[in-house]
Symmetry: D3
Subunit: 136 residues, 6 copies
């Protein structure tokens, strides 16, 4: 009996889109306003979803307080009120697109969770643009 | 040509999380505030999703008024403005976690729907915590 | 230069509507499902709004972290995961309608805030029903 | 490394539900208010989701500005502020149910996208009723 | 002790913007896509707010079930799944802009409510465009 | 017959909170994470509300396309995908708190609107924190 449990979190961060192998002109042409050298920023909304079997005694897949704490430690404390390009090791060379941030978040959470859980993350850069990654 | 049709519903209920085989101390330690013996409560939001083939004449998978009425009869009339632990047979011994409520709702709807439909339910306990169950 | 700053909070609670001077029949007839003796519950959303002058140095009306902490201490810690009728002194004799809860919240916050702030609260019992109180 | 990228769009349109092979009485009985001969209307919300591999250089699955422009050209310019039954070739004989509109949108977008992308659309007729189609 | 109680409702309708004293060309130039002669439509969201004194016994300003029923009778039954221009007497000569619809709704509700209530309505044509009217 | 018309807009920007007259230590102590020297960012949501008399011919208070275009020119083009501290003259010396940004926006719009309109702006820094300014 598999069930999926989801928890919403969020963090506010600055970033710019920039490919280090490219010239400034090429970056500007490709990424447009998102390449502003002085950065811009977003309120990122994150949904973390785990799939697995319900514990027949507790009726829990996972304790939501534990999951919330884990997201706080691994994701919110790391990225909230940060400049992704300047402050975060993960994006020193990796372009912080929503796609890449979602993949990084997935790996940060994956290594803290039991293997019996399947993991999916959805990351909203804005209400209109979002990305989903499940490790496959 | 398979399509999925979803309908949103909601109900407001009181509950407490409590495992009857455990001592009060163990329940309090494990479930924390959610174990308050006097209960607390939620506005539950429910999304019911059916998958199947579009009727080539009507262009419907299912009549939404019929689906809405079925959800009202099976779910809203049963759980709305109720105390899940005290008023609902389903949770006399089953701990009313969001996971267990979602599974109960899935079975209540499943037995009223034609076998040709695939059924999935998503149950929001709060805006931040939700559960998805599809019977597998 | 007056400005209004608002902060959103929430708490989950059980309650029933019941007028102690009335008979059970009269309560049931008047309040209907909301009078369920075993209680039901809600996710309450709260918006607290303060009006006053911006500090010309800091650019703040009030430090949002301070306001958030004050709402946590006075409102969330008091009402979250509680049964309003049974656990909360404020509603031992006062009927916990959304109107009365909003007035109680206003007074709890008012006595903690400087007189120079004007205070308004909006309390959502559900997405469709809400109440606004400003002390007048 | 597969990822899914989604973009939200919307359009406002009038329509009526009507099966041309049926009598007016049969249409009225089956579709009720939705068969009003003078039409009614909706704010349709659309989520377009593409799945594929992240470009290792840019960190993009697809340029969101390109995807947004494509949705504008194929869907918003075609359906926004239109009467689906009278103004749109697609629904001259096809009943504009949410199911059928979603399938039409999927095909309009599918033919403009590279085959390496998997495509899914979700169409909200209202906040409570929505449909998902992925071409299978 | 004045309090404001609000209730949300909605209706789906078709309309076109058109000033009958103007030529078709002038209408088309001024109202653009909103003048489509075949109509377009919206999901209208309505918030009805009453201000008055809390009843000291019941703790109610007004019974929400009564208010919901009144909005259903006067507004939803009248406008839902209708063509405002063709089906509704109120807009036979009055241009159904959001402004004018809000004023019409205000008057329809005003005449059904006790004079001791102050009345305000907010009408959303879309999530981005809305109008507020309080009779002054 | 006064009516209020509102239009929603948004922009994504980076900023840091910093009082130039203060030492770095004092800024860090007072503003905490919001003082991160490398900036962080937000999706700002803006609601612009105008009050005035409905034009008896058109049924408009103001043409929403005109208002939307004005907000784009004055606010979105100026602040979207910008670093408020580094890229925007308005915040070279003024601390870009939500309060100060709202006041700046109000003045930028006020000078472009006819005096017969009353103007109010609401600015959301996050879903939980927002500010309202009406020029008084």
């Amino acid at each position: 009996m598999n069930i999926t449990v989801s928890r919403k979190a969020h963090f506010n961060a600055a970033h710019k889109l920039h490919v280090s192998q490219w010239s400034d002109e090429m970056n500007k042409e490709f990424f447009g306003l998102c390449n502003n050298p002085n950065f811009h920023g977003h309120n990122y909304d994150l949904i973390v979803s785990l799939t697995g079997e319900i514990d027949p005694i507790t009726g829990y897949l996972i304790d939501m307080k534990f999951l919330g704490q884990l997201i706080k430690e691994e994701i919110e404390d790391r990225f909230d009120h940060k400049n992704l390009n300047l402050d975060c090791e993960e994006f020193k060379t990796l372009n912080p697109t929503t796609e890449n941030i979602a993949v990084v978040i997935w790996h940060l959470l994956r290594k803290r969770l039991k293997e019996t859980y399947t993991l999916k993350v959805i990351l909203y850069e804005t209400e209109r643009n979002f990305v989903e990654y499940n490790g496959n």
